[in-house]
Amino acid sequence: MARYILRRLFLGVFAVLGATIVVFTLSRIGGDPRYLYVSDASYGVDKEVWEAWGEKLGLDRPLVVQYGMWIGRAMRGDLGNSTAAQRPVIGVLKEKSAATLQIAVASWVLSFLVGIPLGVLSALTRGRAVDYAARIFALLGQSAPTFWLGIIGILIFSVQFGWLPAGTRGEGIAISNMVLPVFVLGLHPMASYLRLTRSSMLEILDSEYIKFARAKGVREWLVIWKHGFKNAFLVPLTFSGMLLVHFLTGTVVVETVFSWPGLGRLAIQSIWASDFPTLSTLVMFFAALYVVAVLILDILYAALDPRIRYT
């Protein structure tokens, strides 16, 4: 087990390093980073100032050294200054992450609590009206464009009926402000959980040991939940990592639609402000988050399923 965790940890570090290389490459494809500080409309800068900047930023050194310097600074928590906010990126990130966490956690809980029971229900009523309804819901949830759904939600619940606010976070933890973003963000993962649970549950319920449990007279309720669901549950659990990607992309869209002041909206704003330091930090932050989540899930999976060989 320890060796397994160690190997996964090593691969995780490798993945995050890869992400930094991608970001660094992108920063250099974009041309000389000094142009970030010189706007097109200005008078430009002296050659001497230009050279001084180059020396300060280490642009006269080879690319590998530049990458090393950048990584070294990043490890010490210095990710540069946001060119839009004129202060350290880390500070901006800390400020915005709570808002994103708020809706991301809420919609994950929602999708988990709705998607998985619906999946079990759909598997148990296979071929009947309930199953059809659940499957249509899953298909809709996976096909509906998040941003469009958000706008439709605003159109119906804010413009038409005026029940819910059309956006913004509100004061403190405002539930009415959260309802629309959380539901819109959670719909896609909800549909994915439903489908995964359904297919895995159907597979398990078809197996020999379930038939045996029934034959020996175990109560149906126990067969479904103890023998069936306990095993079927591992599949949606392992796919949670992949669903996390949907959350990360989803927050960008949902926060844009609902003017939610979180990391996703920050990413979009930094694109329009050409704020490369902020954007690159966000890319690395999300990559690291994903790697950590997948690592935890892998270890959890190995701990829950004794059949897994630790390779």
Binding site: P145, I152, V159, V252, A267, I271, F276, V283, A287
Partner: protein, 314 residues
């Protein structure tokens, strides 16, 4: 357990005549043509196929069926509602947007653009993904390790943000968009094709081909590739829907199809400003998008269930 045998509806009543005075229970069931039609629709994905064929046809003949040039603006006829409204007119079936452009024409034109972009990027990613998957699965060893570790690294990237960064750095354009979409899509075929190639590698007929002196390239191309075609087709169909969604999302965020070209995502973004007075600008392209993505996903599921049931539902 099958819904149609329990009989909803008003078909032939086979009355079981009871004794005089007892209540006759009519047994209703589908028979004849309606039942056959229902079975046919249940068995084959007719409606999704029809939607996708319509999509391709519209994309192919778009310039000839657009009622108006999609970029033509009008200063007088802005925000005209669809034809069924009293203020609407048959001139603009789905109304006009804030610049007086015909919504229907713009939807038709974006169909063409979307199909072209998604088609090309899907083609690139499938070819690259399949090739890498075949190589990784067939050669194994360190080649496999390198490809798969790179894939792991790539999958951990928040692709949407990376693509947005690429667009910020390189500017908006069709080439950048197609490249970005291909970058997002290529990993999935690699994983699935690799597993198939691993399985086929140890089959007898592959070993026999090797004994007969076939080169590695020939074995890959003639003996392994045909075996993974099913997987590739299923993956391609399933990815098509996701790609269309991603393209629309990018266009919505302003990093997709370069303006002033119409695109479903960008149209929805434009419509946000008029959501109070002109819902159709937002809703209409969204319906087109939803129908196409649903049709793609449904067809993909169907193909997988029939040709490659080993693939797991996600």
């Amino acid at each position: 357990m099958r819904p149609w045998t329990r009989g909803y509806g008003i078909r032939k009543m086979s009355t079981t005549a009871g004794a005089e005075g007892t209540k006759v229970t009519p047994r209703l069931r589908w028979t004849g043509l309606p039942r056959k039609t229902w079975l046919f629709f249940r068995r084959y994905p007719v409606i999704p196929m029809a939607i996708l064929v319509l999509l391709l046809v519209v994309a192919a003949i778009a310039p000839w069926i657009e009622p108006y040039p999609p970029l033509e603006t009008s200063t007088r006829e802005t925000l005209v509602p669809p034809f069924w409204y009293a203020e609407g007119s048959a001139k603009y079936l789905l109304g006009t947007d804030g610049s007086g452009r015909d919504v229907l024409s713009r939807i038709i034109q974006s169909t063409r653009i979307t199909v072209a972009i998604v088609g090309i990027s899907l083609g690139i990613s499938i070819v690259v993904g399949t090739t890498l998957g075949l190589i990784a699965g067939y050669y194994g060893g360190w080649v496999d390790e390198v490809i798969m570790r790179f894939l792991d690294m790539w999958s951990s990237l928040p692709v949407l943000l990376v693509v947005l960064t690429i667009v910020m750095v390189m500017g908006q354009g069709f080439a950048v968009l197609i490249g970005s979409l291909a970058l997002i899509t290529w990993p999935q075929p690699v994983r699935l094709v690799r597993v198939e190639a691993l399985r086929l590698r140890s089959q007898d007929y592959v070993n026999l081909a090797q004994v007969a002196g076939a080169s590695k390239g020939r074995i890959l191309y003639r003996h392994i590739l045909p075996g993974v075609v099913n997987t590739v087709v299923v993956v391609a169909t399933l990815r098509a829907g996701t790609l269309i969604l991603t393209e629309a999302t990018l266009s919505f965020l302003g990093a997709g199809v370069p303006p002033p070209n119409p695109s479903w995502g960008a149209m929805i973004a434009d419509g946000r400003d008029y959501i109070q007075e002109a819902w159709w600008i937002t809703v209409m392209p969204g319906i087109a998008l939803l129908l196409v993505v649903m049709a793609g996903n449904f067809l993909g599921d169907w193909l997988r269930d029939h040709f490659d049931p080993r693939l797991r539902q996600v």
